[in-house]
């Protein structure tokens, strides 16, 4: 089964502007750990927005876990995202007025599927969140602090727990390590891919820093598959 399948996808931000993404084909298979890279402005985040069903392509097809996103209503796409994708961003991933635990559990609030899968192991929701936080090296005493008092690295690990809880099929990380120092970057990456393997999730990791690509199953250079960029250079 392919987790992501793109054919002849075309996207622009507005009708007047030039194409931002023009991708003839892209396929990601279940369980793969993909490293997607490209320079700043090459459309990485835009592509993730399309995969999340928040943006809609102008042309082409875009399938996620065999669901045709282009044929779905926006509410159905929101639902699909809630049920099957865990997102992780560059920084400020946490909601400041929620506790660590509530931030982790946020994924389960908007998806009953994630909630059911989280308690399938026999744990309660809280126990499951705690288990993930333990795995991600967030000590128990940190869990009761306001999230604003956590370091950036700790915040990213809490966000990772939120992305992983309820075992979504896909974990999408948009430069989650760029605010960390080199040593912590690799540590975080190791932790994330290990947890994705445990959860059986496909990992789509986005970065503009190719040095991080070690350990991934496959590297995809966005400029190589995005015709919009090659045209721009040609022009």
């Amino acid at each position: 089964m392919s987790v992501v399948k793109i054919e002849n996808l075309l996207f622009r931000w507005s009708a007047q502007s030039r194409a931002c993404l023009d991708i003839p084909a892209l396929e990601v298979r279940a369980g793969e750990h993909i490293f997607l890279y490209g320079p700043s402005g090459s459309g990485k985040s835009t592509l993730l927005g399309l995969l999340g069903g928040v943006l809609v392509p102008e042309q082409g097809t875009l399938a996620l876990l065999d669901h045709q996103l282009t044929a779905m209503s926006s509410a159905a796409r929101d639902r699909l995202r809630a049920d099957h994708i865990g997102f992780l961003f560059q920084q400020f991933n946490l909601i400041p007025y929620l506790s660590v635990l509530d931030n982790v559990l946020l994924s389960c609030r908007f998806s009953s599927r994630r909630r059911e899968r989280a308690i399938a192991s026999g744990n309660t929701l809280h126990e499951e969140a705690q288990r993930l936080l333990d795995h991600l090296d967030i000590a128990a005493e940190l869990q009761h602090r306001p999230v604003t008092q956590l370091s950036v690295g700790q915040q990213q690990r809490v966000a990772a727990a939120r992305a992983l809880i309820g075992r979504p099929e896909i974990v999408i990380a948009d430069e989650p390590t760029s605010a960390l120092d080199a040593e912590r970057q690799t540590a975080f990456l190791d932790l994330l891919s290990r947890e994705c393997i445990t959860a059986g999730a496909t990992l789509l990791f986005v970065s503009h820093d190719r040095r991080l690509s070690a350990g991934f199953d496959r590297e995809i250079a966005l400029p190589a598959i995005n015709r919009a960029l090659t045209e721009k250079e040609a022009a």
Binding site: G49, G52, L55, D78, F89, P96, Y97, L106, F110
Partner: protein, 420 residues
């Protein structure tokens, strides 16, 4: 849905200082609005109850409002009086159960003096058909006896047995005194919250007696009739200012009114006090309505402040909205989250305002009762006030849609990666 509301509450709590201040401003403005409305209601009610049980007020022909002003409120002066003979004619009509002649024109330290008969204390009713009550003393019996309204007595510090002199004409300064014929305070009335409180009551004969040696508003030079001889003169009044009439049956009121208005001996006017009071309120009520409009505007300002605060927070919350979107929140969830905040704050503000008002009116009620004669009933909320609050909530609901819509647009444009 339930979680979204909980989330909205948590988020609001996180900004409790700014939102708390706006909540406070809404609470105060709502308390002001309700307070003004309540005072307005009570004032109108007590105004409408200045006289009750009287079926007709009769005076020389003038406008109904004018007649009410001097006959009931003792404000201004009658241009013409009614002849005593006319009064006797009216009083003798078969439909008439009782009639109280009143005579105005003199004053005591700015308080109007009312000449009347002892019937006044029996038949004059106010409020919901409440009779006048004495806190001290009794109705006047002797020629130079006076009965004081509660406010007049309190303001001037009089007690039973005190001697007072009347001044010729209305007003406070530069009036000629009826100094040669002092009166004795024999009774003090209980507070009514009506013009009675400000009135000095004496007998019609006394009014006649103090004017024996007067003519055309001035003392006749060279003639002085001492008080002790006044009783020897014929003190039947020649004129009265107005008559309060009670009928045997209310059904006769229009027939009697027509009789008075068509009276052939002199031009008269009979008004139904309820109707005339309503007309009068249309005039004086303008100020109260303006006050209500101003306090309505204060509430609008409070709501604008609230919406401004929420809209201002929107930019700081783009990150938060994007996170919620990423975990599956729909754009309409975001809309609800932001709209709920405004509505929630207004709801709390309104409740707090009601509590503030109830508490403060409970504390101030005795003061207002004793100083203004206004009885503030310790009610929590009336149907009219509920209507006002309904409008407040409706407007706040509409206003709250603005930040909701802003957030909705923002989260659609930002997607998952807001540019800040």
């Amino acid at each position: 849905m339930k979680y979204l509301l909980a989330l909205a509450a948590r988020s609001a709590w996180n900004r409790k200082l700014t939102l708390g201040l706006t909540l406070m401003s809404i609470a105060l403005s709502v308390a002001l609005l309700l307070g003004v409305e309540r005072v307005r209601q009570d004032a109108q009610e007590s105004f409408a109850q200045s006289v009750s049980g009287t079926d007709l007020v009769v005076g020389a022909r003038t406008s109904p409002v004018q007649l009410m002003l001097y006959a009931v409120f003792h404000i201004g002066e009658a241009t013409n009086n009614i002849h005593w003979k006319t009064y006797q004619d009216l009083a003798a009509q078969p439909a008439v159960a009782w009639s109280i002649p009143i005579s105005l024109g003199d004053s005591h330290h700015g308080f109007p003096v009312l000449g009347t008969t002892p019937d006044y204390f029996e038949h004059f009713h106010y409020g919901e058909a409440q009779p006048l009550a004495f806190t001290q003393g009794q109705p006047f019996a002797g020629l130079f006896d006076a009965v004081l309204g509660a406010e007049a007595a309190e303001h001037l510090g009089y007690k039973l047995g005190d001697r007072i002199t009347l001044s010729h004409g209305m007003g406070d300064i530069g009036l000629a005194e009826h100094a040669d014929k002092p009166f004795t305070v024999v009774g003090i009335l209980a507070r009514t919250g009506t013009p009675v409180d400000r009135t000095v009551h004496v007998s019609l004969e006394a009014i006649e007696a103090i004017h024996l040696d007067w003519q055309g508003g001035a003392k006749i030079p060279g003639i002085t009739i001492p008080a002790e001889y006044a009783g020897k003169f014929n003190l039947t009044p020649r004129e009265v200012t107005a008559v309060l009439v009670g009928l045997k049956s209310r059904a006769a009121v229009f027939r009697m009114q027509r009789y008075v208005n068509d009276y052939s001996m002199e031009p008269l006017l009979a008004v139904l006090p309820g109707v005339a009071l309503d007309q009068l309120w249309q005039v004086v009520g303008v100020a109260e309505r303006a006050l209500l409009a101003v306090s309505g505007m204060v509430v609008a300002v409070g709501l604008c402040g609230l919406i401004a605060v929420i809209l201002a927070s929107l930019n700081e919350r783009r990150r938060e909205l994007a996170i919620l979107r990423s975990v599956g929140a729909r754009p309409r969830d975001v809309f609800l989250l932001l709209s709920a905040e405004g509505l929630f704050i207004t709801l709390c503000g309104t409740l707090l305002g009601m509590i503030l008002l109830t508490a403060s009116s409970a504390m101030l009620a005795p003061f207002i009762q004793s100083h203004y004669g206004l009885l503030i009933e310790p009610k929590f909320i009336s149907a009219d006030e509920l209507g006002l609050l309904g409008i407040v909530m409706g407007v706040s609901l509409l206003a709250s849609l603005a930040p909701g819509y802003g957030a909705y647009r923002l989260s659609l444009a930002d997607g998952l990666t807001p540019r800040i």
